[in-house]
C-alpha cells in the first residue's frame, strides 16, 4: 500500500481555512481574551501564593492546578464550536459546501486546541522566573507541559463532541464539563470500585496518565492513551455531525 502524502493533504485541504476562521472568531469575540485572562489569573495566583510558601523552585503546584482549571475553561472554549452553527443554521451552509465532516471536526478541534496552547504560552514566564530564583529540574517541566497539552487535546475533543450533541451552548458547556470531570475523577474513586476493576478504571482516568508523564518519564503507553482518547472523541464528533442524515 503506498501512501500518497499529496493526496492525503488535498483531502484535508479545508481544515486550514476552517481552523483559521474559528481561531479568528475566538479573537473577534471576547472569548479568547476572557479565557486567557481567567486562565492566567487563576494559575498565576496558585503559582505565586505557593512558590514562596514552599520555598522550592518547582512548577509542581502549577501543574496540579492547571488540570482543574482545564475542567471548566476548556468546555467554555469548545461549547460554541458546533452548537452555534446548528442554532444559527450555518451548519447547513458548511455541510453543503464541498467539505467533509472530518474536515469540519478537525478544523474546529485544532482551533480550540490552539487557543488552549496560546493561553498556556504565558505560563512559560513562571518557568523562567522560577529558573532565575533557583535551580529547576527540567525533566518534569517538559513532561508536564507535554502531558498538559495532550490532556488539553483530549478535553477539547470531548468538548467538541458535547457541542455536537446540542444547539444550545449552555447545554454543550454542562455536558462537556460533566464528561471531562468524569474522566478526570476516574483514578480518584478507586477506593469505591471493586478490586478487579480498579486497574482498568485507573488506566482510563486521564489524571493517572498525566501524572505519569509529568514525572518526566514519557512512556508510550501514556502517549497512546492520550491519542486514542482524542481520536475516539473526534470520531464520535464526526458521527454525531452525521446524525442529520439519519
Amino acid at each position: 500500500m503506498d501512501f500518497n502524502l499529496k493526496k492525503f493533504l488535498a483531502e484535508y485541504s479545508n481544515v486550514g481555512p476552517i481552523f483559521r476562521k474559528e481561531l479568528r472568531s475566538y479573537f473577534n469575540s471576547a472569548v479568547a481574551y476572557v479565557v486567557i485572562v481567567v486562565f492566567l489569573a487563576i494559575v498565576g495566583w496558585f503559582f505565586t501564593s505557593n512558590l514562596f510558601l514552599m520555598d522550592v523552585a518547582s512548577l509542581r503546584t502549577m501543574f496540579e492546578v492547571i488540570p482543574v482549571v482545564f475542567l471548566f475553561i476548556i468546555p467554555a472554549i469548545t461549547m460554541r464550536l458546533l452548537s452555534e452553527e446548528k442554532k444559527s443554521g450555518t451548519i447547513e451552509l458548511l455541510t453543503t459546501k464541498p467539505v467533509s465532516d472530518s474536515e469540519i471536526v478537525l478544523g474546529k478541534f485544532f482551533a480550540g486546541w490552539a487557543l488552549v496552547g496560546l493561553a498556556m504560552l504565558p505560563t512559560l514566564l513562571y518557568y523562567i522566573t522560577t529558573g532565575i530564583l533557583g535551580s529547576i529540574d527540567n525533566g518534569p517541566v517538559i513532561g508536564g507541559y507535554f502531558g498538559l497539552l495532550l490532556m488539553a487535546g483530549v478535553y477539547v475533543a470531548i468538548g467538541l463532541f458535547a457541542s455536537s450533541l446540542t444547539d444550545n451552548q449552555v447545554v454543550a458547556f454542562i455536558l462537556g464539563f460533566v464528561f471531562v470531570f468524569i474522566l478526570y475523577m476516574l483514578d480518584k474513586v478507586l477506593f469505591y470500585v471493586p478490586e478487579w476493576m480498579a486497574t482498568t478504571i485507573e488506566f482510563l482516568g486521564i489524571d493517572y496518565h498525566l501524572s505519569n508523564v509529568a514525572r518526566g518519564v514519557i512512556d508510550s503507553r501514556d502517549v497512546i492513551y492520550f491519542f486514542s482518547m482524542l481520536g475516539f472523541m473526534l470520531l464520535l464528533s464526526v458521527g454525531s455531525l452525521q446524525r442529520r442524515k439519519w
Binding site: G16, K21, K97, R244
Partner: protein, 315 residues
C-alpha cells in the same frame, strides 16, 4: 448542467414531507418552486444540495448522483438556504473569502473573484463591515454572493426574497436574473409575481406532490377558467338595468352579467362568458349598433394566483 429528480421521497419520522416527486431541470433554465409553507420545497432543496439524504428515489446533477458523488455535486452547486444563515461576527470580505476557500477556488483567483462578486452584488460600500451590522437586503446580497463565489453551474435559492421590502425584492430579483444567465437555477418562493417575473418554468408543489409543472403561460392556458370581461360604457339611457343589461345578457355565450351604475350616464358591467369564448368583438358591435361609447374593456387572464389557489387548497 441539468438536474434529474426521480421518485424522490422523504419521511420525517412517520410524516411524509416529499411524496414520489420526479422532474427535470434543463441547463440554463430558471425553475420556480411554488407552494404553500410546508409543501416540501425546502426539503427537496436540502436533498438536492446533499444536506440530507432522501428516504427513497434519486437525484443526479449532470450524471453525478448525490449519494455516490456528493462532493462532486456540492462543488457544482451554489446554495442559499432558507432564512439565509450567516456568520454575523465576520466581515463581508472575510466571509466571502472563507466561502471561496471552502469551495476550492484556487488561491490566485480568490482576490479577483471577490472583487467581481462584491461589485456585481453591490456590496462595495459595506465590504469591510461585520455581517451582523448589515440590513436584511444587504445580508441577502451577501448570501447570494456567497452562493455564487465559485461560479457554480447550478444555483439553488430557497426563498431568496423573503422578508425584504418591495424595492429590495425588485433588486434581488434583477440580481438573480443577471447572475442566473447561463446557469441552471432552482428558486423557491410563495410569492407568485416573483415566479412570473423571474422563472422560465414553474412547478407547483403541494402536500409533497407536484400539482402542476409548466411555463407560466402553459399553466394559464391549462388551468383556464371562464372568461371574465369588465367594461365601462357611456350611454344616455334612462335606466341601464332595462336598456343595457338585457342586451348584453342576450349575446351568445354570455353566462352572467353584473351591472353597476356608478355615476349618471356611466355604466359598469362585469360579463362572464363560457370557457374559451372571446366575446369582445360581439360586445363592441353591440355598442356601436346602440351608439354606446366604450370607455373601457378588459379581459381578465387567469392569474397564477388563481391557479395556485385552486391547486393548493383542500376542497
Amino acid at each position: 448542467m441539468s438536474i434529474t429528480v426521480r421518485n424522490l421521497t422523504k419521511f420525517y419520522g412517520q410524516e411524509k414531507a416529499v411524496d414520489d416527486i420526479s422532474f427535470d431541470v434543463k441547463t440554463g433554465e430558471i425553475l420556480g418552486f411554488l407552494g404553500p409553507n410546508g409543501a416540501g420545497k425546502t426539503t427537496t432543496m436540502k436533498i438536492i444540495t446533499c444536506y440530507m439524504p432522501p428516504s427513497g428515489g434519486t437525484v443526479s446533477v449532470d450524471d453525478y448522483d448525490i449519494a455516490e458523488h456528493s462532493l462532486e455535486v456540492r462543488k457544482k452547486i451554489g446554495y442559499l438556504p432558507e432564512l439565509n444563515p450567516l456568520y454575523l461576527d465576520m466581515n463581508v470580505m472575510e466571509y466571502l473569502e472563507y466561502s471561496a476557500q471552502l469551495h476550492g477556488v484556487p488561491k490566485a483567483e480568490i482576490r479577483p473573484r471577490l472583487r467581481d462578486m462584491v461589485d456585481v452584488c453591490g456590496l462595495t460600500s459595506v465590504r469591510h463591515k461585520d455581517i451582523g451590522e448589515l440590513s436584511k437586503g444587504y445580508r441577502q446580497r451577501v448570501g447570494l454572493a456567497q452562493a455564487m463565489i465559485h461560479d457554480p453551474d447550478v444555483l439553488i435559492l430557497d426563498e431568496p426574497t423573503s422578508g425584504l421590502d418591495p424595492n429590495q425584492i425588485v433588486e434581488i430579483r434583477n440580481l438573480i436574473r443577471k447572475l442566473g444567465r447561463a446557469k441552471t437555477v432552482i428558486l423557491s418562493t410563495h410569492i407568485l409575481s416573483e415566479v412570473q417575473a423571474t422563472c422560465d418554468r414553474v412547478i407547483i408543489i403541494n402536500d409533497g406532490k407536484i400539482a402542476a409543472n409548466g411555463t407560466p403561460d402553459q399553466l394559464q392556458t391549462e388551468f383556464h377558467g371562464s372568461e371574465i370581461i369588465t367594461m365601462e360604457l357611456k350611454a344616455n339611457v334612462e335606466n341601464g338595468m332595462t336598456d343595457i343589461f338585457p342586451k348584453i345578457k342576450a349575446l351568445a355565450h354570455v353566462e352572467n352579467v353584473q351591472y353597476q351604475n356608478p355615476s349618471p350616464g356611466v355604466h359598469h358591467l362585469i360579463v362572464t362568458a363560457a370557457k374559451g369564448q372571446d366575446i369582445r368583438e360581439e360586445i363592441f358591435r353591440q355598442a356601436v349598433a346602440e351608439k354606446w361609447v366604450l370607455l373601457e374593456m378588459h379581459r381578465e387572464a387567469t392569474s397564477l394566483e388563481e391557479i395556485f389557489h385552486k391547486l393548493t387548497t383542500v376542497n
